[in-house]
């Protein structure tokens, strides 16, 4: 027992060092931006309208909030992304599992994906609009489509790499086809599916912005285009920043879900050595 106590004393667990550099860098970025903008406003190195200062962007945000429209844009974008992303992911996971399980389906799906996959989703947006009209539908379908392909590829890969021994052992424990699918195949493919979702999230956001720039009447993408028409640079900066914030939030949310789901997973470079 004494040994253990001693060990505890020797190998003290270091508290995670607070990383100040991160915040210093961010603060410096805004400070430099502010200084350049203020200096330029006085000395007119270039037209000051082109580069509003961070404080001007904040003021623009306050104005829009005051008029009650900023919430609308933020929520509209978040909602569209959530629906489109969820739709694309769910369809991709279902299709991916079907394709990953059957060699015949895969031989049908693979050439189709090779055919459609290389076309950037953005090239298809006008076609989507003609097909699905100008309402919400084409935007949602477009975001879903942009999400779909990467998630599909990762899901198929995940299903195909399930350890066959685990399937054998589940059968010998009396599991039905459906139980094996839910408790073994899906669980085993889930980490892969999440990698696909991470890759897709960036694409979904790009799709969201592009879709909102073309024929929408609300949303952060629309706010950028609308502000450009009236040459409100500060509003454009504001909308772009808010898209960044939304992406960060969604990405954090995804990370949280992952951390909860994959507590059983260890390994990788960070776990190779105790430091």
């Amino acid at each position: 027992m004494q040994d253990v106590a001693q060990l505890g004393r020797l190998r003290r667990v270091r508290p995670a060092a607070v990383d100040y550099t991160r915040w210093v860098t961010i603060a410096t970025f805004f400070l430099v931006w502010q200084l350049i903008a203020v200096y330029n406003a006085v000395h007119q190195v270039f037209n000051p309208v082109f580069l509003p200062s961070p404080t001007m962007v904040l003021r623009a945000g306050r104005d829009l909030l005051g008029r009650g429209v900023l919430y609308l844009h933020i929520l509209q974008s978040a909602w569209r992304l959530l629906i489109g992303f969820s739709l694309g992911t769910s369809v991709a996971v279902v299709v991916g599992i079907l394709v990953g399980r059957s060699r015949r389906l895969e031989s049908i799906a693979a050439p189709l994906l090779d055919l459609v996959g290389p076309i950037p989703p953005f090239a298809l947006l006008p076609i989507f609009i003609i097909w699905f009209g100008v309402g919400e539908l084409p935007k949602l379908v477009f975001i879903a489509y942009a999400t779909f392909l990467p998630v599909l590829a990762y899901t198929v890969d995940g299903v195909k790499s399930v350890n066959p021994l685990l399937i054998r052992s589940a059968y010998s424990l009396g599991a039905s086809e459906m139980q094996i699918f839910r408790r073994v195949v899906l669980k085993s493919a889930l980490p892969n599916i999440f990698v696909g979702m991470r890759v897709s999230l960036a694409l979904s956001f790009s799709a969201l912005v592009v879709a909102e720039m073309i024929g929408a009447d609300a949303g952060l993408g629309y706010l950028i285009i609308d502000s450009r028409n009236f040459f409100r640079m500060a509003n454009m900066f504001l909308a772009a920043s808010l898209i960044g914030v939304e992406y960060t939030l969604f990405s954090l949310l995804l990370g949280r879900v992952e951390a909860r789901l994959f507590r059983w997973r260890k390994g990788g470079y960070a776990h190779a050595l105790e430091r």
Binding site: R168, S172, L173, G174, S188
Partner: protein, 263 residues
């Protein structure tokens, strides 16, 4: 008979189109209720293939396998399997792994929990219920593997070189553990191994398989348990089995190369 293997043949697709290679040629073997039966032989003799046939993962070309008089058509909960590679579900804790069988078979939650706890205690893993397999040592993983198979209360317990991936010291300890568990629960066991002392230490009977895909012989081990692996009688069995397997090696050196097997 709990388990009856009747004139079973099994071949695998050859790599070349010449001729099919038979891994098993007419194997007939029985195991009685509560018996500990070992399958002993060199790598490639088809012992794992035979176990996979009994488990129902693969199908015999000819002959049949019966459990309690019913022909095996595929894998099922009446035959619990313990794998050399453990094959635990990494996303489930020790408790969840062992509860898997009772749960999928629809045992009510309360009963399933009690059963799981009982088998966790049986294999000596109390206190590790909520640990994930990744954090366990090889020996502990295999304890989970054994408890998981037993929690289903199978008719026959199939063990495919269950201690093959363990170090010598752990292996010895696990042998004794298995013996203790077997004496307590008394399942019918089919145990695949290529270790002669292991087979002698554990088995009621040892089925020795040769590289021609047939049974070389069945040796009943008539020693009281626990068996002392240094006792003269024990060593006599080891010597006799070594000779049986050596003869096989020699005779097989002159004939065609060992059957291409799944092992």
């Amino acid at each position: 008979m709990k388990l009856a293997i009747e004139d079973v043949y099994k071949s695998f697709d050859p790599f070349t189109a010449s001729s099919r290679r038979f891994v098993l040629r007419g194997v007939t073997l029985q195991a009685a209720q509560g018996e500990f039966l070992s399958l002993l032989g060199h790598s490639g003799c088809g012992k794992s293939t035979l176990l996979n046939l009994v488990a129902g993962y693969i199908k015999p070309d000819r002959g049949r396998i019966l459990i309690d008089g019913t022909t095996v058509e595929g894998p099922g909960a009446d035959r619990g399997v313990v794998f050399q590679e453990y094959a635990l579900f990494p996303w489930y804790t020790v408790h969840e792994n062992i509860a898997f069988g009772p749960q999928v078979r629809g045992v009510p939650a309360g009963t399933a929990h009690a059963m799981t706890q009982r088998y966790i205690a049986l294999v000596g893993l109390t206190g590790f219920e909520h640990v994930y397999p990744d954090a366990l040592s090889g020996g502990m993983k295999q304890r989970v593997g054994i408890a998981r198979a037993l929690a289903n209360e199978p008719t026959v317990l199939l063990m495919d070189e269950p201690f093959g991936a363990l170090d010598a010291l752990t292996r010895e300890a696990m042998r004794q553990e298995l013996l203790r568990i077997w004496l307590q629960v008394r399942p019918t066991v089919v145990f695949v191994t290529h270790s002669i002392p292991e087979a002698v230490a554990l088995s009621d009977r040892i089925a020795v398989m040769n590289l021609r895909g047939t049974l070389e012989g069945i040796i009943p081990v008539d020693l009281p348990r626990p068996r002392d692996s240094h006792a003269a009688q024990f060593l006599e069995y080891v010597k006799a089995l070594e000779q049986m397997l050596m003869v096989d090696r020699k005779s097989s050196a002159t004939r065609e190369p060992a059957a291409l097997s799944e092992e």
